[in-house]
């Protein structure tokens, strides 16, 4: 039975990805994204409230304006909550990992 010498494994060349420095720019980009999104959600809520005020005082011109604005605000809020739930779940998942 021949015993072959174990050839030395070539050194794994470092890939470009590992060469990239981990800087914080990605984090700030994501944070900015979140902030913009939350601002937009807030804007939709405020717009919906304005239309509701018009409805209550009888100054509303088009009924569909208030229903559409309410629905937009509603949906964006639902989406935000859903994303928040997912993020919290992901965080919990990570915390549960045993190092």
């Amino acid at each position: 039975m021949e015993v072959r010498t174990i050839r030395t494994i070539n050194q794994i060349a470092p890939t470009d990805g590992l060469n990239k420095k981990l800087d914080g720019s990605n984090a700030t980009q994501f944070g900015q994204l979140l902030k913009n999104a939350l601002n937009r959600v807030n804007e939709l809520q405020i717009e919906s409230d304005e239309y509701k005020k018009l409805l209550l005082t009888g100054d509303l011109d088009n009924l569909h304006d208030v229903t559409i604005a309410a629905e937009k605000a509603n949906i964006s809020l639902q989406l935000t909550l859903s994303i928040r739930n997912k993020l919290v779940e992901a965080y919990r998942e990570i915390m549960r990992m045993q190092i």
């Binding site: 509303l60 011109d61 088009n62 009924l63 569909h64 229903t67 309410a70 629905e71």
Partner: protein, 146 residues
């Protein structure tokens, strides 16, 4: 402005047509009235329709934006028909003049009937308009029901 402007417009027309029918009925009821105010026979009455517009500071602006200030129609006045009275030869009538002619109201039943039908048709058209607006509003509410 308001979301019920459309309905207000149609409602104004309903009121106007109803008044018109009232005047027509009055004319028809008095077709033979020889003694009215001032000793003269009854004089036929007519309604005058007038378009109602809300206040607008510039009609040019109004035509080129979506601000619409139309408010329907109203009866601006009720006038008397100045066509001359009809003359009928009836010497035995208490109101006959010395030639034996009686002055009768200038009301023509056929004209009144035609106007009555026209007013009814207009009334129904405006009712249909209100129902259309109502169905649109209910549909708009459906957006938030889901």
């Amino acid at each position: 402005m308001g979301m019920f402007d459309s309905i207000n417009i149609s409602a104004s027309a309903l009121t106007a047509q109803k008044t018109r029918i009232d005047i027509i009925s009055k004319n028809m009821a008095n077709v033979n009235t020889t003694r009215s105010t001032g000793g003269m026979p009854y004089r036929r009455q007519m309604v005058v329709f007038e378009e109602q517009r809300g206040p607008s500071f510039s009609s040019y602006l109004e035509k080129h934006t979506n601000r619409f200030n139309g408010k329907g129609v109203e009866i601006s006045e009720i006038v008397e028909d100045t066509t001359p009275f009809k003359l009928k030869y009836e010497p035995g009538h208490p109101d006959a003049n010395e030639d034996g002619y009686v002055m009768l109201p200038n009301v023509d039943m056929v004209t009144e009937m035609v106007n009555m039908i026209d007013a009814q048709r207009a009334y129904e058209a405006n009712i249909t308009a209100i129902n259309g607006t109502k169905s649109m509003l209910m549909k708009a509410l459906e957006i938030s029901r889901r």
